[in-house]
Structure formats: structure tokens, C-alpha cells
């Protein structure tokens, strides 16, 4: 007799494959295949282990790097900020004490934690991946269940390789059609967040599906999954396919030989079964998408580039009206007009959303043979040492420098402004990063989030620009 198996989503399959133990009245104990560690959210966790006399259970399943508070200036110089220097030294000391590999300040594999995991082939389909960082969903691009955790959970994973987790709801984001010229992966995710709001995916995991997603490269898929948290979701993922396997093949930690073949066979089983159902689905028409930009102080406050900003007077809910009034006041903007043409001071091309080689190629492609507006400071910050090497091999730093951009060392940089790379009060930036909260890029700084294309176009003109006018 044929056995009937309930069709499952990839989210359910990943979950089922990692349940270690379930006790009544408690969340499930889930095994974690890869834990990424960085300097900001780990020191108190290591201290916790020390206080309890615990060891790291599986040092082979953790990797650490320095990214958040690391300077992006010349690495041969000492770090000026003593508090950051202490935090970075602390990371290396903790990793040494607990036997974890650390790609620290002077490693030639250092980089933003969400750039190096995939680059080294550590992130693989079917895994559970965690990090004390909310953008861990980036790794979901490979068909992994990847989510951000707090420091107490960092300590739990270090000590037990497990976490207590409750099942999330499944939320399908179906993107069908073909992106127009000048519209990119970043615009897909900004459009989704503008549509569902920053709390729209709370308690859910996104699965991105549809022809427009299948057509994306791995780096573009990472851009999409990266900002799942900005839609409120715990994680976001994409079922692995040939694009995924091609990207992974030959990477340092990817399986080799016969192990590769059996891994690919296993990975092909992960895709959502026909007939499986989701708790919620939204559909996005890729053909209708325009370049997106945010105008406010959360990533949900986004519009297509030529669209007028909302007027507070048209918002009926009083608390929502208050929030939008406050956001526009902070941003020094008026409702009712589009952002196009608004002067800017800084352009930041970088962050775990858009600092990979294809992002840099895209920006360089537009900047080649052009000059950035002399009033604008343009920072290009590669995501990792590997991205930097590749960019150098392709001659990209020369293009950026000739255009008048700064070419810097890898790290989070002005995405989070912990390392001295920051806006001054009142300055406007067009940034390829993922957060535009008040003060995120420096106290009093004002951030417009956009794609690398929009950022490069705005760098050239000195005002918020629809890239299609320059193509």
C-alpha cells in the first residue's frame, strides 16, 4: 500500500530535520548546524560560559569574524577607539580560549559575518544557521533555516549546539515576472516591506518563490533574504536549485567528490512539495516594480522613486499619523512630493545587504568614466577581504577612485556607524544598507535606503536620482 505523506514546505522539512527532542509544555529543542560569531553580541555569552564553567560543545560548528566595530581605514595602523580595540581583542581571546576559529582583524578571510559564511561554503542548503545578528536570514538564500538570536541564545548554542524554538508560521512571497532595467533584487525586498509593513512578517518565515526569484543570482537572493527581518520575519529563505549548487561547487567548505553528489541529491529533496500550504501568501508583480527608496525612519516607509511621499493629514490612525509626522520631521521632508531631486551629502555602498562583488560591479559599471558630484562623499566598502581581492583583480577600485569615491577596508562601516564611519547631524545619505532608523548611520543622520544602482546614480548627480535617467 502506498504510504501517504503530507506535503510539506521547505520550512517544515528544515524544522523536522533538526528537532532533537520535544518535551510536553516546552518549545522544541533544535540542533544548530552552523553558528556565526562576531565581536558585538558574543563577549557576554563567553563570559557566561566562564562563570558556569562550561565549554563550547562543538567548536567545529562555529566561526567568528570581526566586522561591526572594526575600522575600515588602513588595517596596519593601530585601532584608535580603545573601546572598539578592546572588544576586537576580546573576540580573538575568547575564540582562542574556547577553541573556535576566528577570522579576526588581520585575517585575509575577514569580512561581514553574512558575507563570509556563504563565501567560504560554510553556509549550505538544509542547514540551521544562527548568529547574534538579525540579518542572519541572509543565509536563507541557500535554502537554510537561518535566524538571528540574542546573546543568551548565543551562550546556549556555544554550550549545547541547540536552541529552544517555537515553530514559525509560513509566509510565501511569490514574485512573478521579469524585472525591468534599473530595477534590482533590493527593490523587490524594499517593495515587499513597504507593502506589508515592518511588522508584517512577525512570527513568520518567508519563503520567496516565483519566476523572478528563480532568475536571481545567489548574491541577489542573499540581498532579498537579508532584509526579511525588516519585514518582521524571523527568517527568509529560497529553495536551493542549480544556481545554488553552481555557486557552492568548489568553495573551501563545500563537500567534494562523492560527498558532493550525495549532498546535491539530498538538497534537491528540500524544495516545498506540490500541494503544501502556507499560512499566508502575497504576490508581487516583478514587471510592475520600479526602483524603490525609503524616505522615513523605518524600512517600511518606502516608495517607488517617482512616487509622492505620504501626507500625514491623509493618515487616519492617530498613532500612525504621529509616527509619520515624527519621521518626516526627523528627515526634514514634506509629504506630498517625491524624493527625486532631493540633495544628498553621502553615498554608502556596502553592508551585508549589498557589498558583494556583483553589487560592486553594478555600481562600478555606472560610475565608469563618470565623476561623482563633488559635494558628495561616496564610500565604497567591500563586504570581505575576498570581495576586495576580487574587486582588485577586476580593476574596480581604480574605477571608484577615478570617479571620486573612497575605497575602504571590509566591515559593516556606515551601516551601523559603530566604527567612526558615520553621518554628522542633519546629513543625508543614500545607502545600500538595510536600516534607516533615527541615528542608525550616526546621531542625527538621515538615511535613504536604496539599491546599488540608485546609490551610484545619486552619487553622480548629487541628488536622489532615478537610475533609468542615466542608463
Amino acid at each position: 500500500m502506498p504510504r501517504t505523506i503530507m506535503p510539506r514546505t521547505i520550512i517544515e522539512k528544515l524544522w523536522d530535520n533538526h528537532v532533537v527532542h520535544e518535551l510536553p509544555g516546552a518549545p522544541s529543542l533544535l540542533f544548530i548546524d552552523l553558528h556565526l560569531v562576531h565581536e558585538v553580541t558574543s563577549p557576554q555569552a563567553f563570559q557566561g560560559l566562564r562563570e558556569r564553567g562550561l565549554k563550547v560543545r562543538r567548536p567545529d560548528l562555529h566561526i567568528a569574524t570581526a566586522d561591526h566595530s572594526i575600522p575600515t581605514s588602513d588595517r596596519s595602523l593601530p585601532i584608535v577607539d580603545p573601546i572598539a580595540a578592546n572588544q576586537l581583542a576580546q573576540l580573538e581571546a575568547n575564540c582562542k580560549e574556547f577553541g573556535i576559529r576566528c577570522l579576526g582583524v588581520h585575517s585575509d578571510q575577514q569580512g561581514i559575518v553574512h558575507v563570509i559564511g556563504p563565501e567560504l561554503g560554510l553556509t549550505q542548503p538544509g542547514m540551521t544557521v544562527v548568529c547574534g545578528d538579525s540579518h542572519t536570514a541572509t543565509h536563507g538564500a541557500f535554502g537554510a533555516l537561518a535566524f538571528g538570536i540574542g546573546t543568551s541564545e548565543v551562550e546556549q548554542v556555544l554550550a549545547t549546539q541547540c536552541l529552544l524554538q517555537r515553530k514559525s508560521k509560513s509566509f510565501q512571497v511569490q514574485v512573478e515576472g521579469t524585472l525591468k532595467a534599473g530595477v534590482s533584487a533590493k527593490d523587490i525586498i524594499l517593495a515587499l516591506i513597504a507593502r506589508i509593513g515592518i511588522g508584517g512578517g512577525t512570527a513568520s518565515v518567508f519563503e520567496f518563490t516565483g519566476s523572478a526569484i528563480r532568475a536571481l543570482s545567489m548574491e541577489e537572493r542573499m540581498t532579498v533574504c537579508n532584509m526579511s527581518i525588516e519585514g518582521g520575519a524571523r527568517a527568509g529563505l529560497i529553495a536551493p536549485d542549480d544556481t545554488t549548487f553552481e555557486y557552492l561547487a568548489g568553495r573551501p567548505h563545500a563537500p567534494k567528490g562523492a560527498a558532493w553528489d550525495s549532498a546535491v541529491a539530498r538538497w534537491r529533496e528540500l524544495a516545498t512539495d506540490p500541494g503544501a500550504t502556507y499560512d499566508r501568501t502575497v504576490t508581487i508583480d516583478a514587471d510592475a516594480l520600479e526602483p524603490m527608496i525609503t524616505y522615513g525612519t523605518n524600512p517600511g516607509m518606502g516608495v517607488s522613486i517617482n512616487e509622492a511621499l505620504p501626507k500625514p493629514s491623509e493618515v487616519s490612525d492617530p498613532m500612525a499619523r504621529e509616527s509619520i509626522t515624527k519621521a518626516l520631521a526627523y528627515m526634514g521632508l514634506e509629504g506630498g512630493k517625491p524624493l527625486v531631486g532631493h540633495p544628498i551629502d553621502v553615498v554608502f555602498i556596502g553592508s551585508c545587504t549589498n557589498s558583494r562583488i556583483s553589487d560592486l560591479r553594478t555600481a562600478a559599471g555606472l560610475l565608469k568614466g563618470r565623476k561623482v558630484n563633488p559635494k558628495v562623499r561616496v564610500m565604497v566598502v567591500p563586504g570581505s577581504q575576498e570581495v576586495k581581492r576580487q574587486a582588485i583583480a577586476e580593476g574596480l577600485p581604480e574605477i571608484f577612485r577615478a570617479a571620486g569615491c573612497e575605497w575602504r577596508e571590509p566591515g559593516c562601516s556606515m551601516c551601523i556607524a559603530m566604527n567612526g564611519d558615520q553621518l554628522t547631524p542633519g546629513q543625508y545619505s543614500v545607502s545600500t544598507s538595510n536600516r534607516n532608523f533615527e541615528g542608525r548611520q550616526g546621531k542625527g543622520g538621515r538615511t535613504f535606503l536604496a539599491s546599488p544602482l540608485t546609490a551610484a546614480a545619486s552619487a553622480i548627480t548629487g541628488v536622489v536620482t532615478d537610475v533609468r535617467t542615466l542608463l
Binding site: V20, L23, G25, L29, F31, L34, V40, T41, Q44, Q47, G48, R52, P59, D60, L61, H62, I63, S69, D81, I83, Q87, R101, Q124, G126, M127, G132, D133, S134, G148, I149, G150, T151, S152, E153, Q156, A159, T160, Q161, C162, L163, I198, G199, T202, A203, I229, G232, R234, H253, N298, G300, M319, E322, S323, I416, A417, M418, P425, R435, F437, G439
Partner: protein
């Protein structure tokens, strides 16, 4: 962890939606390697002016907010980063509960691990609390999962069974997971490692 007890407190109202963790504690204060002393940076950029002096208009700085244990905030509180520094800063300042209509997932989990109770209420209760006269108090009863509004209305709020048990009994989650070490070992034996990050 100390057991979480029932209490009554006034509220500090912060009528804004989507208060993110960068507002609760800005990233530049995350270079510390300690959990302590974060209360001083709670809501830093709203709380102090450019010269670093307390802004007397900001609610946290007002005399009537001192000693208050409940924060009343707008929708989707705690969105943004995974920094546990946010609940650390809130509890060190003295908060034991935050009331909102909804919370971001990671913030909620981080709070429950630090004896900060996220209380989700319906929109009408939320509005009633914001409309309550200054100095009015609420009662919070975790074992019964009830909140008593200043008007005496008793509403229930959701908390998952396990988190409630841990809070009320002062159970430490890591200790609980460590007790399952035999099951973890069995899982490991059945699932060879996919990578070796040390190699």
C-alpha cells in the same frame, strides 16, 4: 534567575509605533563587553541633547517616571536588531514589563530571558491605558496572566506556557537544555557534521 512576582506600578507612556532597538540603545554603545551600566544609555538619543544634558521634556527624565516599572509603548515595540542590550538597558533602568499591541520576535524572546515581561494587549485596552490619567497604576499578575487597568478592568494576556514557567519559577533555560544532553548526543551520533569550520 529570580522568580518573577506580581506587582503594581504606574506607567511611563511612550506613544510611538515601531520603537526600534537603535532607539532603545544606539549601536555606538554596543562596544562594551559587559552587560552592566546600560541603563544610562537607555533611549540615549531622545534622552540627552547634543551637549549630553538630559532633555527635561523626555518622559524618562521626568520626576514622575522615576521608580516606574511599566513601559507603555506603541505598536511593534523592539523591532530591528537582535541586541540583547535592549532588554538589559530596560531592566537595569527598572522596567519589569512593557505593554504594547505587538512585539518584534527577537526582542520578545530576549526579554523573556531577562525577566522583562512583554504584555500584548488588544487595541481598545491599549487606547484605554494611554488615556488613563497621569499617575494611574496597573496590576500585573503573571501566574494568572492578567493585567488590571486603572479603571479596574481585568484583561488576560498571552504568554507561552514554558516562558511563564521559567519566569515564575526562576528556571534557567540553559540549565534546562543541558539536562537534555543525552538526547543531543544521540542526535549528533545520528547526524554526522556537515562542515568542519576548524579545518
Amino acid at each position: 534567575m529570580k522568580p518573577f512576582t506580581n506587582f503594581e506600578s504606574r506607567m511611563v507612556p511612550l506613544p510611538l509605533n515601531n520603537i526600534d532597538t537603535d532607539q532603545i540603545i544606539p549601536a555606538r554603545f554596543l562596544k562594551t563587553t559587559s552587560k552592566q551600566g546600560l541603563d544610562k544609555q537607555l533611549f540615549n538619543d531622545w534622552r540627552y541633547d547634543a551637549a549630553g544634558n538630559p532633555n527635561p521634556e523626555f518622559i524618562i527624565n521626568k520626576p514622575e517616571s522615576q521608580g516606574v516599572q511599566v513601559l507603555l509603548a506603541g505598536d511593534n515595540f523592539g523591532c530591528g536588531s537582535s541586541r540583547e542590550h535592549a532588554p538589559w538597558a530596560l531592566t537595569q533602568w527598572g522596567f519589569r514589563a512593557v505593554i504594547s499591541t505587538s512585539f518584534a520576535d527577537i526582542f520578545k524572546q530576549n526579554s523573556l530571558k531577562n525577566s522583562l515581561l512583554p504584555i500584548e494587549v488588544a487595541a481598545d485596552v491599549h487606547a484605554e491605558l494611554f488615556a488613563a490619567p497621569a499617575g494611574a497604576t496597573v496590576k500585573i499578575d503573571l501566574p494568572n496572566q492578567t493585567l488590571t487597568t486603572p479603571s479596574g478592568r481585568v484583561v488576560t494576556f498571552p504568554v507561552d506556557e514554558f516562558s511563564k514557567h521559567c519566569l515564575v519559577k526562576g528556571v534557567d533555560e540553559l540549565g534546562y537544555i543541558l539536562e537534555q544532553s543525552p538526547e543531543i548526543a544521540a542526535y549528533e551520533a545520528a547526524h554526522p557534521a556537515l562542515i568542519n569550520a576548524l579545518a
